[in-house]
Amino acid sequence: MSEGNAKSTDSDDRNGKSVIVDYDVIVLGAGLAGMRAALEAARNGASVAVLSKVHPVRSHSGAAQGGINAAIGEGDSWEIHALDTIKGSDYLADQDAVEIMCSEAPSDIIELEHMGVIFYRAPDGKLGTRAFGGASKARTYFVGDITGQALLYTLYDQLLKSGVKVYEEWFATSLFMVGGECRGVVALDMMNGDLVMLRAKAVFVASGGMGRVYEPSTNALICTGDGIALAYRAGAPVMDMEMVQYHPTTLKGSGFLMTEAARGEGAYLLNSLGERFMEKYAPNMKELASRDVVSRAEWQEIAAGRGIDGCVLLDLRHLGPDVILKKLPQIHEMALDFLSIDMIEQPVPVRPGMHYIMGGVKTDSDARSPVPGLYAAGECACVSVHGGNRLGANSLLDTLVFGRRGGRSAASYVKSVTSLPSDAAGEQFLAAEQKRVQGFMDRPTTGETHAKLRLELGTLMDEKVGVYRDESGLQQALAGVRDLQKRYDTVAVRDKGRIYNQALTFALELGYMLDCAETTIMSALERKESRGAQSRTDYAQRDDANWLKHILVTKRDGQAPAISYVPVTITKWPPQERKY
């Protein structure tokens, strides 16, 4: 057992060489999907390293609050869970993949419990549940309102136990592609500024979402779509990118997440007249309709003048201090910290805010992308199990099921790869990459700043590619992003240091974000209907005859990205009208 994971820098292991060999699988990202994949690949005999731009426990999986879904309890079944998921997805999810996720969910939850997650218990000592949006049964397993954090730490602890090597605070700049196959990663060791080639037989992208493409967003500042853009640049198609989830309850001002578990525990949404307006929009499920439905309802209330300062109210007062303090302590604290509101006494102003992307790198149900040697799972991937709209507490499940399946699949794949590219090929690729990155450092400091462009991008996306969209707004957004891409070429790095140069990594991130934004807008323009999170005011209806299909975007050199389609896989649930 090594203490490798405890070390913050690994330059001593390299003996001054800039090319490292010897990994079967490199996992990019150390959130839930990445750690689960790494563990499983290691268990199946692969030599594995995890590379992350932040320490594993800083990953954004830790921000997931509400819980994780599985049909374990009596009266529930994986088929009901699958149907809820498919209905939630507005029938855009691939049903074969959903069947896998929902049928394997129970054993994954049990495995997590065996790893040590301190799940809430029912009085009989068995796992207990709470209700969640879009779910016809209470099947969400949880740890207070810090479920993601509890899972993240448990997996990190397991990773320490496994001895898998972690490169912490290493920032990936490109994938090492040889003859159309992915054979490693070039990454910046932030502690000393070295650009290093890590060769591998397979690369597993698990780098999370791209929330910062939007401003505001519930996502951490690190959620910049790095892995999605890296895979996209390496030739992997991205899918369902138009499906951007706005969470109904994000805190006024800061935009921080107020978990759906609040409504799961019984909280109300009120307009300025004090009405529970969801009774109008979703008479059966009310506040617990799926997220796209609730977000649109809030938007309409606010647009009709029944909002309060651009927000509606999330009212928990009737739940009482016991439920709030025991089951929702974190959001109670956040409302106190950021708005000085005690939710025991007062309702909290919330608005829909960008939260999650259903789309990502296209994969199959074993996390394989169409590019040989390239895998993806978690928010950066699109299997697709979430389709047009993800149900709350299905994202943690997605990371674990497909992280596990992908880890196993990658470990098996690497056995068929007999050799790695030569040192010479690695060094040549690395030299070109060093030149490209140095280019950022060498630009005249009179150029644009990454911060200014980032803010412009985020504001543009929130305004034009948000809850409601239309042709002219999307065209403006596309033109805006193309303009930002041009200006991006002048972004200068004013920090000339080598150690912990964040100006450089922020500039590189902005490039990833622009790729994600472009593919999102192109997909949203392409889909001429309203489905799930895509609500077009100019095409207000769902159109199964023409659009029961996924939109893929593939990068092409020297010309605009290519759009293509893949049919939705339907197994046993034909599309129906969606009512909550």
Binding site: A6, A63, H114, K126, D337, A451, G497, A503
Partner: protein, 335 residues
């Protein structure tokens, strides 16, 4: 409104050096930390803004080279603990208004940790301590097949206080024991140790308690309460350490200075109603531990010279039998 932020800057030798005023070296026990330069920034932010908002504003619009670790901005990721006016704080939930003293707030990397650059410290000591407590479940056998361990919810709720820990390191940064003994396991790691020791699904309870009872373990905490005060998530590491001590003593791990020290306190109070300071030190060291007793002689001599030596004859308080009764009623090891 306008806020003034004084930022401690540092870049290693060979790197471009930050502008600012050269600061004085730190006092012991932080004399190993390199001195920094201090640069003053003015930022325009709303009344309720946080210290992190100010740092981000500086980094985005005034000086791109300012290094700050941060991600979630809402006390979840644990990236942004640092010194604010000389104490460890998570800057994302520290309000400028509450930390502005004499018109400014001073922010710097804690001198108790190695520094990387500017506000970024090297967390290696923190992660090593975490690793040293075997921070994972060693499953109690047999593992239930196809189902969960059945445990009461109260047993899980007991652990949630530690599971709320976001590893920000604020506790270690301000830990007085760590400041003088780099080997001390530290508050967060020992809280984590409690989390797995007290987990009814863990099989290694006894081995764990043995390990944690060794020097630099639970008994090296000096109860200064800095960790309880600085923790932004209510983990209260000291409370977890005290629970571990009780578990260790109950499991029979009493052959250590820590237990003897605690026992000497209890016995003295039981027998005389108050503390016999004269016998406290010898009893803690172990009465037959002659080398250690001899080593403590110079300290005793200094106390004598300063007129601080406790009275040679120790008197019991009146009605001491009532104290003894209390001990009897409480039960346990001193009844």
């Amino acid at each position: 409104m306008e806020w003034t932020v004084v930022v401690g800057r540092y870049s290693p030798p060979g790197e471009p050096q930050p502008k600012g005023e050269r600061g004085a070296p730190f006092a012991a026990p932080y004399e190993k930390a390199p001195p920094k330069t201090y640069q003053t920034f003015k930022v325009d932010l709303p009344e309720h803004a946080m210290v992190l908002d100010a740092l981000i504003a500086v980094r985005e619009y005034q000086d791109e080279s300012l290094a700050v670790r941060c991600a979630c901005r809402s006390a979840i990721c644990g990236s942004c603990a640092m010194w604010v006016n000389g104490h460890a704080r998570l800057v994302c939930t520290s309000k400028l208004r509450e930390h502005t003293v004499d018109g400014k707030v001073t922010v710097e990397a804690p001198p108790s940790m190695p520094i990387v650059r500017d506000l970024v410290c090297d967390m290696t000591p923190f992660w090593k301590k975490n690793y040293s407590v075997t921070p994972w479940l060693e499953n109690k056998q047999p593992i239930p097949q196809g189902e969960e361990y059945r445990v009461p919810n109260a047993a899980m709720e007991e652990l949630i206080q530690e599971v709320s820990c976001i590893s920000c390191g604020a506790c270690l940064m301000d830990c007085e024991s760590f400041a003088v003994n780099a080997d001390f396991m530290g508050p967060a790691a020992l809280a984590k140790a409690y989390r797995y020791t007290a987990d009814p699904r863990d099989a290694q309870t006894t081995d764990r308690l043995d390990t944690y009872s060794k020097p630099s373990g639970v008994w090296d905490c000096t109860h200064c309460y800095e960790c309880v005060q600085q923790c932004p998530k209510g983990v209260a590491p000291l409370e977890q350490i005290l629970k571990l001590r009780k578990m260790a003593v109950d499991a029979g791990f009493t052959h250590n200075a820590g237990t003897r020290h605690a026992d000497a306190f209890a016995e003295s109070v039981r027998d005389s109603g108050r503390l016999n300071e004269l016998t406290l030190m010898p009893k803690s060291l172990g009465l037959f531990n002659i080398p250690a007793q001899l080593q403590s002689l110079p300290a005793a001599f200094n106390l004598l010279r300063a007129g601080k030596l406790p009275p040679l004859i120790h008197h019991a308080i009146p009605h001491v039998e009532r104290i003894k009764n209390i001990f009897k009623k409480i039960g346990g090891r001193f009844k």
